[in-house]
């Protein structure tokens, strides 16, 4: 990577000079200087990854991959939807080899756009459980997340939040806070319900929960947990990932919040708790297909899975790899078992249902 500092001061100076009249050349020169600053030259032993995951842990993964194979991972982070539009516009000229997202619904959209190629290898098949990958091999999970119920310990008994259905009952009138339905996890949760129980049931449930709202949907997953702890409501739904991260937070205020709330894996006696994956696939026009496949295989290898477990609060995709100790302490739980592409297939319908019941 080149050192851009001299250019920085140079361009700052150019920007600050007001008599732009005679500086036409400077502007041209600065654009050239900037272009020279971007990486890309030299070594071409790399693989390009579009990723909607922005975790520091992922950089450790990239370093691990480079150590194991000598191949550098060049990442472009962004929101999955935007990266998809870029991939679409680039078409066959795209430089991206792998597309990674933290939600199966988004991965399905890439597949639907015809921008993934199916890849099936023994290593992937062996390491990724059937229900955590695309049936045709367009994308493969490498970590998983559970959708849990959080509740205020001094107001709710655990058995009262044993099911997602409970959140729509009279017991929780005006006692529920939820994240906006624009959020992809929220959409995936409802999409899974549509797959299992049909659209009518899903709509009735969303409407019932909507009727119990203590406030209009706002904020992030962590904000829902905070609102429950603060007594604004008694229960909410969030990704287990955020709950455990707050538990480990360097900020004492976060840990205080977690002290006031408990969590439950819902529907253990029924269909199991909803799970979603972080996963990736090889792009349709990958220029470095072999390395891309190698990268996907690495993500589910022993080395990567054991490295990721303590760095992050996600569950490893492979059941035989132990999760981080605090996650392990939460105990094993029964997972909802549906074809993963259902999260994508029903996403638009889930969005419509949320719209109809007024869950903004």
């Amino acid at each position: 990577m080149c050192n851009c500092e001299p250019f920085a001061s140079f361009i700052l100076e150019a920007t600050l000079s007001f008599s732009l009249s005679r500086r036409g050349l400077v502007l041209g020169a600065s654009a050239t200087a900037l272009a020279a600053c971007t990486p890309g030259g030299g070594e071409d032993n790399y693989v390009n990854v579009y990723t909607a995951r922005h975790y520091d842990a992922d950089r450790a993964l990239y370093a691990g991959f480079q150590e194991a194979t000598g191949v550098e991972v060049r990442a472009l982070t962004g929101s999955a939807e935007q990266l998809l539009e870029r991939l679409r516009a680039e078409g066959e000229a795209s430089e991206a080899d792998v597309f990674v997202s933290a939600d199966a619904g988004n991965l399905w959209k890439v597949k639907e756009a015809g921008l993934f190629q199916n890849v099936v290898t023994p290593a992937l098949e062996q390491n990724v459980p059937q229900h955590l990958r695309d049936p045709e091999g367009a994308f493969w999970g490498f970590t998983k997340r559970a959708r849990i119920i959080v509740y205020r310990k001094d107001a709710v008994r655990p058995e009262e939040v044993a099911t997602m259905d409970a959140l729509g009952t009279a017991r929780f009138r005006n006692q529920i806070v939820m994240r906006s339905s624009s959020n992809t996890y929220q959409l995936s949760t409802l999409a899974a319900r549509i797959e299992r129980l049909g659209a009518e049931n899903a709509k009735a449930w969303a409407g019932a929960v909507r009727g119990n709202f203590a406030r209009d949907p706002q904020g992030s997953d962590s904000d829902q947990i905070k609102a429950v702890a603060a007594g604004e409501a008694q229960a909410s739904v969030c990704n287990h990932y955020y709950y455990f991260r707050m538990m480990r937070s360097e900020d004492a205020a976060d840990r205080d919040v977690i002290g006031k709330v408990g969590f439950a894996f819902p529907d253990q006696a029924g269909a199991g708790t909803h799970v979603n994956i972080s996963g990736g696939g090889v792009t349709a026009h990958a220029k470095r297909r072999e390395r891309a496949v190698q990268f996907l295989e690495y993500l589910v290898s022993d080395a990567a899975q054991t490295m990721l477990a303590p760095l992050n609060t996600e569950f490893p995709i492979r059941p035989q790899i132990a999760p981080a100790p605090d996650l392990a302490a939460a105990g094993a739980f029964k997972e909802e078992n549906i074809p993963l592409d259902a999260l994508g297939r029903h996403q638009a319908e889930a969005a419509r249902i949320f719209e109809e019941v007024g869950w903004s």
């Binding site: 920007t15 971007t38 990486p39 472009l76 000229a93 991260r245």
Partner: protein, 524 residues
Amino acid sequence: MSLAASPADTRALRPDGVAVAAAIATLICAAPAIAVIALAVTRDAGAEFGAALIREGAIGTLSLVLAGGAGAIAFGAGAAWLVTLCKFPGRGVFEWLLVIPLAAPSYILAYAYASMTWAGGSPFPVQGFWGAAFIYAVGLYPYVYLAARAAFASQSACALEAARMLGASPSRMFWRIALPLARPGIAAGAALACMEIAADYGAAQHFGLSTLSTAVFRAWYAHGAPALALQISAVLLVAAMVFLFVERSARGRASYAGGSSRWRPLPRYDLNAVAGGSAAVFCAALIVFGALLPLLWLGRLALLHANVQDIVQPFVNSIVLSGSGAALTLSLAAAIAVAARRATTGWGKSPLFAAGMGYAAPGAVVALGALSLFGLAREAGWVGGLGAGLSLAALFWTYAARFASAGVGPIDAGLSRLSKGFDASARTLGAGPWRRFVEVDLPIAAPSLAAAALILFVEILKELPATLILRPFNFDTLAVKAYSYASDERLLEAAAPALLIFLAGLAPIIILARTIERRRAGAA
């Protein structure tokens, strides 16, 4: 060229270079927005609830623009009046400090306030509609402040002195003389603030509001309908154009005589102890809520989680990108503003609106327009993939499309103080369009150019969605870093890059704010 050649002859003999440059600049700036509208019209959105999304979003956007905009105007114009025309304790310091909130992106203010005052943790939770309106008012008032201060400062001392001799009180002088005279400047600043509000996605989304901007992303992300997203964006773009047109024509009708270009220190009112104290508290409160409080909070979070080495390269990238992006956009904006100022027909002013459209659209949408054009060019075989060079070019293009208006506005306001006589005299002396541009327009508009440069640099520094989607591999900026962490709800880690955006924006703001003042004094 001889004195005998009349201006008309000169124009007839060869094409006006400035006009051609302006036409090209306008095309560059307007293309992505036009692409969005074209795609919106031609693509089938295929979603039946589009109308409901648009209706609900329009109401939300309008209410926020009214509430947040009114706050920004009251704070900005009030503060500008106080520091320019009154004497009170701390006035000289406040004059600089009041621009500081400009360095804070609304989305970062929203994150900071939300985490500082989360419900139950504070008696005054900043949330919902009023939370967002509060953030826009304290975060965006500097746009109005800068423009209004320039307008107040350039007012003829004679008019104010005459008013004072006639026994007008400070407040009467403000309402009857200074405010009407400063209206064009205030309107230009307010237009920027209002369009920022309309285009904002981060804060509105965080507070769970339904606006046109959040509807765009709702359609795009949740409903998986980019075509519908484009249609909603087109509504936003057209509304912005109408808004700009109304603002301009209202301004056009109200032209006041007496703007002397001769400079001397303005007479300042001595405020009594109570009034002076209140003025100081008012200014201090704006700085505290717009910058200091969130700044300290972010500082506290950043100390809890220091990740300094991770943000050195993004910091450098941010500075380089913002510097060159601002320089390019500024040159385009200057060409557009000067050509429009010279135009005698209504059509000649149309570049102002065309270039202004992009400002009211969320950056992601403008980037989507640029991406679509890129896709067309690629299919036509003109360009290849988005390699490092091409993606930077697309990024600069999007910056220009998005922010040209932020540059055009102040430059145009600066040029509006220039009497047409200058241009006519220069023409009589045989100066061609370029020479008049370089030797007459630019020096006179220099303070405005400085203000424009400042705004552009900081805008691009804060810009997120276009940078996110169009940047090359392994190229992170501070805003991208802050977003990456914040989107994963890790405010602790997001705090350091967010703080640096603040601080990196501060230096140019203060340098430029001071330079404007010096230039003014030097022009006496």
